[in-house]
Symmetry: none
Subunit: 411 residues, 2 copies
């Protein structure tokens, strides 16, 4: 079985918003035994939409679209699919009742424009969408399937997981592809290549190496009639790779540095607090993106104004002697927040995110300190990131979490 | 003149690496007077590559590809373009000399497999690439242009700017597209649609509506021989739209809530501080993404643990009486951080980001409070966001900044 993905919307076509939907779906189809051959993006134009959906339907077993299911005149996915199938759209009474009730429950009256969100064609059934006003369409005729999902990722993701993927899994007869990624740190791509070169020659699982911001990833992919059989092919190879790369493997699949560090903190009953200035809260934000982070994250202080650092316990004399952007101030921030928020480990970040230099310190200069008290080793390091404001913030936070991980692993 | 963009590579097709090239090119074509009708992504497969390039060449004046120009067996762009034109590839002696010299200058011998990077077909000329080993191809025949550029963005961007865009500009009709976006808040997409429906029918400027996290965007695009003429077409329509939507228009083009709120704070000499728990620092991070935010942002406290709220001045009795996730606690947080960090305005956010409910409060329940002292009105509001953890954080921050904006505008 093979599929094509069509992302709909002029803003996606023109690169004005990032299309995360197509990648989301493309990543998930192989595990259902469905090959992806093409992705397309097309604007809000009926003729071109029908052209691309029609061509895709000629070539592929399944065509999956996202976007263009809103209530406006620019939302033309329904019309295009009707045109491709040479069928007429009509209001579906059940959908109309559902949508009018939805508005009523929200204390509103459905604007008449939204009536097109209750349309179907004879070959279409509606796909449930509890997160929005646009039901999806599942159109099946002549052995071909066309699936239309809404563009907002929160609506699309739920619809995919709950409604579309299970239905596709039933119909797919193909061989399932299961992937497994091991994440390493501290080795270059060619080191890893040399260390596991004898395993790289196999083709089921096939193995690929990918250099990423958080280290070299080793990706295994196995094909088999069922997911269990595919996993059974991966297991012994994964065990061999782990054996060879042991001290360098820090996680797998969806693990991130922050999730792995968090798990280590939780297991060891250690708590963490952060005082950050140039990263402006991004470190705390990143740490708290991990579910369950309240087990180990006490809190943070965003000491944007210099007086706030002093109010929060950083010695004015240290700032005066070394400057607000210095290793000494970063260390004092780590110590102060550790004491103030009664945590086992404190992290301090101070630097210049730009766009202007500050007190003679160039843009991108960042100091990161860890105060581990008696629990982990303390340290302060200097970095220079030659990037944009938001990229400097992001890089500094990644480095801070990597430092934390190394501090936790080291002792 | 119109164009299609083809991104080549299995990793891009499967969403394993993000395709920034297609968006880069798509954003730049309208200003050259070239319309983009489709973007496609296809894997490293000769038949499918030739199919998608061939179809695109039938429909469009210009086909622009990126990727697949490397030296390996998987790099099939040259072969596919040759197939589409029914021409034979052959080593170009000048390119061969250039590439062998390039390797020699780097102290290496050219691996023989790289010889395919010196191929051309009779209708192709090479496009200079000083940043890599893959020249581009400019293929012109039968009134159609096919342009192949390498995948690495640093090579592609330079080739686009220096070689491709100037050449395309010469051939294009010279009609440029200029865009202008008005950003509104407090209206639904279908409300805006109804209010300005008489203007939506025009096609120069054409007008599109886009529902975004920060409200509905109204985007105008005008075509004219020069940028000045295009702007002159937009101006009266923009004036009409502003007149109709007046109290709801909060910004234009690159304005964000945080930049507009920040500008207002700076102009009025007001300062801001935030205490946030469920958003975990994302509010401070968002505010400090704006360059110059140190003029008005004093700092923030991420009071993740309940004791941290108390340490930072939130009355334990309020938390005990109303719960840590309550309007009263949010208001106490706003007041405490305003006092503690000596700011004019304090913001407090408390809620449950999930995945688990907390003390009987459901996931997605968030309270946001503003304490404006005597400067702006104080308020506390309840929200319920039915989304994922990170989306709840994002929505809560957007709402907090919208509240701030309204508080600043209201009085």
């Amino acid at each position: 079985m093979n599929a094509e993905i069509v992302s709909i919307g002029t803003e996606i076509l023109l690169g004005e918003i990032v299309d995360t939907n197509a990648a989301y779906i493309a990543e998930r189809l192989p595990a259902l035994g469905i090959d992806v051959y093409y992705k397309h993006a097309v604007g809000d134009n009926l003729t071109r939409l029908a052209e691309v959906i029609g061509r895709a339907r000629e070539r592929a077993d399944v065509v999956i679209t996202t976007g263009g299911l809103g209530p406006t005149e620019d939302d033309l996915t329904r019309e295009a699919i009707a045109l491709v199938h040479d069928e007429e759209t009509a209001v579906d009474p059940d959908l109309e009742t559902w949508l009018r009730d939805l508005y009523k429950r929200r204390g509103n009256v459905m604007p008449e424009r939204n009536i097109k969100q209750t349309w179907l064609i004879p070959s279409a059934r509606a796909i449930n969408n509890p997160r929005g006003t646009a039901p999806g369409w599942w159109v099946e005729r002549d052995g071909k399937i066309v699936i239309a999902m809404p563009g907002p990722p929160s609506e699309m993701n739920r619809m995919w997981e709950e409604e579309v993927a299970p239905e596709l899994a039933k119909r797919s007869t193909g061989t399932v592809l299961i992937k497994r990624t091991l994440k390493t740190a501290g080795l270059g791509e060619s080191n890893v290549d040399e260390m596991i070169s004898h395993l790289l020659k196999g083709n089921n699982p096939s193995i690929g190496l990918y250099a990423r911001a958080d280290g070299v990833h080793v990706r295994m992919g196995a094909k088999a009639p069922t997911a269990e059989e595919a996993r059974a092919l991966i297991e012994p190879v994964e065990a061999q790779i782990r054996e060879i790369l042991r001290p360098h493997v820090w996680g797998a699949d969806d693990d991130t540095f922050e999730s792995v560090v968090g798990e280590t903190l939780a297991q060891r009953g250690l708590t963490l607090a952060a005082m950050e200035s140039c990263t402006g809260g991004l470190l705390a934000d990143t740490i708290t993106n991990v579910p369950g982070s309240s087990r180990y994250f006490r809190g943070g202080i965003v000491s944007y104004a210099t007086e706030v650092k002093e109010m929060m316990g950083v010695d004015r004399a240290i700032i005066a002697a070394h400057g607000v952007v210095s290793a000494e101030t970063a260390a004092a921030m780590a110590a102060a927040v550790r004491a103030r928020l009664q945590a086992d480990i404190g992290v301090g970040i101070t630097g210049v995110a730009g766009p202007e230099p500050q007190d003679g310190v160039p843009v991108g200069q960042v100091y990161i300190a860890i105060d581990g008290g008696e629990k982990v080793a303390s340290q302060a390091l200097a970095f220079q990131f030659n990037q944009s404001r938001t990229a400097i913030k992001r890089r500094a936070v990644t480095q801070a979490i990597m430092l934390l991980r190394r501090a936790l692993v080291a002792e």
